[in-house]
Amino acid sequence: MSKFSKKKSGELPPVSTASLPDIVFMLLFFFMTVTVMKDSSLKVENVLPNANEVKKLEKKDRVIYIYVGKPTQEYQKVFGTEPKIQLNDKFANPSEVGDYILAERAKKSQELQNVLTTALKVDKNANMGLISDIKLELRKVNALKVNYTTYEGDAFRNIQ
């Protein structure tokens, strides 16, 4: 029996994949530096309204988030379909907002405690009543700087 036939000398050598890990690591580092970790998963529907006179919310470490909206499908059986407030990972009543803000504020470092912004991420179909309750609670704990988070777009699309 003959030995394996000898390779023809004209055949192309296989492409070297030795640099593939480097390329992927480069991508990895890119994503690690430009992104931030998601801190909580949304339990409410959160279609933000549009506005065009917006300001960017810089410095994520100075922001406290409050989500408001209708509970998503899986929570509707328990919590109903009326808009609810979500603080961190759980639903809350308006009366709990103040305590939440104080707790979050206490977690931040001393020099940031006076420059915190509260970002209200509210679904565009929520009613103003709930928002007013939240605003009243925020005023009680002296968290006066708020940001109504919106998408950038034509504001008149909100009212259709």
Partner: protein, 203 residues
């Protein structure tokens, strides 16, 4: 038997797989967008002192939103699209002639001076949040349009652009100091006086 020449080479073939795994993990758990929105200051819960501030009726521009999203501005039912021009006309009026940069009609029935003009916003508990944001956006837009006009006249560039550069943490300190005075000056020409009354319940 042949001697080994040093340790054998570690197979790095699976390195790519490991790196891909990490990459996918970061792609899934992170978000890339920065948030943007309308900045507002809430009024303190108690007024600092109980002094009766007398504000002339003509210096207040009253905006009411009802639960159906209809708009009442200065006792007149108007369309949302007209709000910005209405608000600008009110702010820019300069009724008593003390405002040298105003280009309004100088209507004696409307506001005296931009520094005295107050926009008061009132909404119903059942107003949709989307409508509220649109109204807020238009009112902020009215201020921004007027401030842009003055910034163009004085410094040859838009106020919103200057403010964004001033707030950007990457702007060098020297430019920031320069911008700070300019931004402050424009803000003083048209100070944002937007008061929000307590919401009314239905009926």
């Amino acid at each position: 038997m042949a001697r080994r020449a040093g340790a054998p080479e570690v197979n790095a073939g699976s390195m790519a797989d490991i790196a891909f795994l990490l990459l996918i993990f970061f792609l899934v758990t992170t978000t890339i967008e920065t948030d943007a929105g309308l900045d507002r200051m809430l009024p303190p819960i108690e007024p600092p002192e109980d002094i009766d501030v007398v504000i002339k009726q003509k210096n207040i521009f009253q905006v009411n939103i009802n639960k159906n999203g209809q708009l009442l501005a200065d006792e007149e039912l108007i369309d949302l699209k007209q709000l910005r021009t209405k608000a600008m006309a009110f702010l820019d009026n300069g009724g008593d002639g003390t405002c040298t940069y105003c280009k309004g009609k100088r209507n004696a029935e409307s506001s005296d001076n931009p520094s005295k003009a107050i926009i008061s916003l009132k909404n119903d508990r059942e107003t949709k949040y989307g409508t509220y944001i649109t109204v807020q956006n238009e009112l902020v837009g009215a201020y921004n349009d007027l401030r842009n006009r003055e910034a163009q006249r004085l410094f040859g560039r838009d106020f919103t652009e200057m403010e964004a550069e001033y707030l950007n943490p990457e702007t060098p300190q020297a430019i920031k100091d320069d911008l700070k005075d300019k931004v402050k000056k424009i803000q003083d020409l048209f100070p944002q006086k937007l008061s929000e009354a307590e919401t009314s319940s239905a009926n």
